[in-house]
Each structure stands twice: as structure tokens, then as C-alpha cells.
Amino acid sequence: METFVQLIAAGLVTGTIYALIAAGYAVLYTATGFVNFALGAQAMIGGYLTYVFLPELPLIVRVLLAIVVSILVSVASWAFFYRQVAEKDMLSAVIMSFGFSIVMAEFVRIIAGGIPLPAESPFGSGVQQIGILSISNHSMAVLVVGIVLFAALALVFRSRGGMSIRAMFQDKEMAETLGIPTNRVVIGLFALSGVFAAAAGILTGPILSMSPHMGTSLALIAFVGAILGGLGRISTAIIGAIMLGLLETLFAGYVSQDYRTTLVFAVFILVLIVRPAGVFGSKTKVKV
């Protein structure tokens, strides 16, 4: 029982981190049909800015810098690179984002080296005992930050502006015809996905330690999670990513630690064969 509770908590923590990236994917995908695989690398850069590059700066400054840089990378990469390509061929743009994430990883490897570096949690190394569950401060922080960010996302989408965003998701051309500046809204959504990516990177660092290619695997696993729930809606993408985190952690705890990555991709293949629109997705809601 104790192991089970422990694993569920760990799974939720892992899942929340995946879900931050998955939410970023879904926000962009529903608005543009584009999957930005570089969100993982943006998370990695956010982590390096927080834990490795600038140790002399105060923590709050490093965190803010990580967020700002991630926003800028998000917005600039869309405005200057992906958009033009996406208009002609979406698949090329998606592959381009994957290539860009490898470029970012190599860039960081050249500056900081390829050896994984430890990262100290901003929340300290303390552990709390709640009944039979013992949970680190950092894990608690992951859950709290996740809940706050997902709640904020829900608020944005329920607001007046959110109604225009939802209208845009459903019929972009018509929304533009009504006077909604859809290009500007998309830029705003890229900025939003940048915040989520930076948060994922800052929260992952102390758990996995920092390495240049950590973002690449984070990007892929979060994508599998989003697909598992359904990429066509933000809520289902988030739930899918959390489910995948739970599944992976339970599998690692009870079956095999070595095959956890294999499991993730087995899930991926299974979902694509059985339910391409995700466990919760209805076929009509997913634009392909």
C-alpha cells in the first residue's frame, strides 16, 4: 500500500511535468495545427538558465530570465521560421521544430558540456510526511505550480478573450472575418506555451539533473501523453500526459525500471493504432 501511494505521488509529479509541455503543444496545435517539438528544448534552456549558466544572479532573476527567454524563443521561432513553412507544408514545419530542438541542445552542449549537471531545487531538499506518504518539497512544488498554471490556463480560456480564442480554434478564417486579429492571438499563444515550457524545465532540473538532450526526450514523451489523451483539446492533452506519467511510474515501480522508455513508445504505437484521436478524443474534434 505504501509503495503504491508513493508511486502514485511520483507518477503525478512526473505526469505534471509532461503535462506542462503537453498543454503547450495543445494550445498551439488547436490554434494553428502545428506541433512545436522545440518546447522540450526551450524547457532545457530554461533549466540551464536557472541552474547552470548564471549562478551569481539571485534565483528570482534567473527564473524570470528563463521564462522571458523561453517566451522570446517561442515567439521568434514562429514569427521568423515556422510560420512561413507551416503555411505551405505543416509537416515540414513540425520536422523543422524537431531539428531546431537538436540545434538548441547542441548549442548548450558546446557551452556547458555534455555531462549531466546536478540542479538544486529552489524549494530545498526537505521532505514532508503526510500520513503514509513522504513527499519532497520539490515534488509538492511541482504539483502546486502545475495546478496554478493549469487553473490560470482554464481562466484565460473562459474569459471574454478566451471566447474569441475558442471561436478561432473552431473557424480561424471566420474569426478573422469578424475582426479578431488571429495572427496576434497566435503570437500570444506561442508566448503562453513558452511560459509552460520554461516552467517544465525549471521543475525538471532537480529531478533529472541537467543535460543538453533532456529536452528532446521530454518533448517526445509529452507528445505521446498528449496524443494518449487527445491533442485536439487542451484538457485532454493535459490529462493524457498525467496518465502517461502515472503509467510510466507504476510500470517502473512494479515491473521494470529498465523498460520504462520502451513502455512509453509501446503506448504511443498502441494509441496510434487503436485510438488515433486519443482516449477521450472524438474523431471529429481532431484536425489532421
Binding site: M163, S164, R166, A167, D171, G179, I180
Partner: protein
């Protein structure tokens, strides 16, 4: 108010509309008729800004608007009832109207929406229903209501009568005509030439991407091309 001069509009490099010159004056209702594929919808898409102008000019009150994005043209007061309705399927009826009402000057939103419900009582009874679940005719009413709630200066309509029962489109046609009398400019693409002639005072016949006939309703009624093409059986008795 709106003027197209020698306009060339198309898809990518392919032009579908050539050398088209049309205008809509202030508080004037003008129709565009023509066979399927003549380029009526393409012309409207060019005016709205979804298709680029490949040649000629489009002006609004004398100013070139051909470089403006569609949302900027909307803010000048141009509203569209598109071909195929294009309501937001997963928003409710009320939300569809609200999205449109709040884009421009964010004032009297409730009042403007209620006036749409007064005009279309069928929609009033379904205000919280998902728009995608409305019947085709109800969606058409919503598309018209969504354009009117913006209080546009020019209403551009692609197929007013499509999907509406005769009683309803007569009624909607009358509202459009009344609005035009009250000062709204209208550019109407309509399959039903009889209806178009009841609503508008002037019109153009489009064929293969260019205007082959133009004139007031009285003038056009005497032209054999119009009679043959459109009035046919329907026109007898009018």
C-alpha cells in the same frame, strides 16, 4: 463607399475574377448574380481580404484597403455572411453573437444581441444551444444575426436564401431591405434573382469572372440575358 476597379482576384497565382469593376454606394443595396463558378464568392473573398488582389484596386471611402488584413477591414465596418454559414459549431448561439458583438466597440452588447433575438425569434428560444446542432436554416439566421450584431456599414452576403424556407427568406429579405432603407449598404450574392431584385435597387451579372451586365433593377428586368438565365419559370408573374 466600396469600389472595385479592374480587380483581378484569384487563388495563389491563378486568377478567377478578371477586370471586374463594381461599386456599392452609401445606403445602397446591390446584387451580384451569375452562374455557378462565375466568381461571385471569390469576389466577396477578395473584398473581405481572404484572397489577395492580383491587379486593379479595392477602395473603401476612397482609401485603398487591398493591403489590409481581414480583421482590419472588419473594423472599418464590413461584415460578411459567408457561403456555407460558418457558425462556430461548439459555441452556443448566444456566444456566437457575443463573440461578434464584442470585437468592435464593446458597448450596448446586451441590447445589440437582444435586437437580433427580436429579429429572429427562433434563435431566441435556442440561445444556449450549441450552434453546430442548429438546423441549416437556423444556422443561416445565426450567420446573418452574427453579421448584423456588429452593426456594420456594409453587409456582404453570400447566398442569403440558401437553406431557408421561402417564408423565412422572404422575411429575412424584407429585413435586409429595411436595413438598407435605414442606411446600411448591402452587397448581395444570390441564386434567387427574383429575391435579389426585390431587396436591391441595382445589380451586376457576372460570368466567367467579369461583369457582363449592370444596371438598375428596372433596366436589368428588360434584358434577355437576365430573363433567360435567372427568371425563367420563377420570373413569370412578377
Amino acid at each position: 463607399m466600396l469600389e472595385l476597379k479592374n480587380a483581378r482576384i484569384g487563388y495563389g497565382p491563378v486568377s478567377v475574377v478578371h477586370d471586374l469593376t463594381i461599386s456599392v454606394g452609401a445606403s445602397e443595396a446591390v446584387f451580384l448574380v451569375g452562374p455557378n463558378g462565375a466568381g461571385k464568392s471569390t469576389t466577396l473573398r477578395g473584398i473581405i481580404g481572404h484572397n489577395p488582389l492580383l491587379g486593379g484596386s479595392i477602395t473603401w471611402e476612397g482609401k485603398d484597403i487591398s493591403k489590409l488584413a481581414p480583421h482590419e477591414r472588419a473594423r472599418l465596418g464590413i461584415a460578411l455572411v459567408p457561403e456555407g454559414r460558418h457558425v462556430f459549431p461548439q459555441l452556443s448561439v448566444l456566444e456566437n453573437l457575443e463573440v461578434a458583438a464584442r470585437v468592435g466597440p464593446n458597448t450596448r452588447v446586451k441590447e445589440r444581441i437582444e435586437s437580433i433575438f427580436d429579429r429572429f425569434p427562433r434563435l431566441a428560444g435556442r440561445r444556449s444551444q450549441q450552434a453546430g446542432l442548429l438546423s441549416g436554416g437556423e444556422q443561416q439566421m445565426l450567420a446573418i444575426g452574427r453579421a448584423l450584431v456588429q452593426e456594420p456599414r456594409l453587409l456582404v452576403i453570400d447566398e442569403l436564401s440558401l437553406g431557408l424556407a421561402p417564408v423565412i427568406y422572404q422575411q429575412v429579405g424584407e429585413s435586409v431591405r429595411d436595413l438598407a432603407r435605414d442606411g446600411l449598404s448591402v452587397l448581395l450574392v444570390e441564386q434567387n434573382a427574383v429575391l435579389a431584385m426585390k431587396i436591391c435597387s441595382r445589380g451586376y451579372l457576372l460570368s466567367r469572372g467579369t461583369a457582363v451586365l449592370e444596371g438598375t433593377v428596372e433596366e436589368l428586368k428588360t434584358k434577355s440575358e437576365m430573363r433567360e438565365l435567372y427568371l425563367g419559370g420563377l420570373g413569370k408573374g412578377n
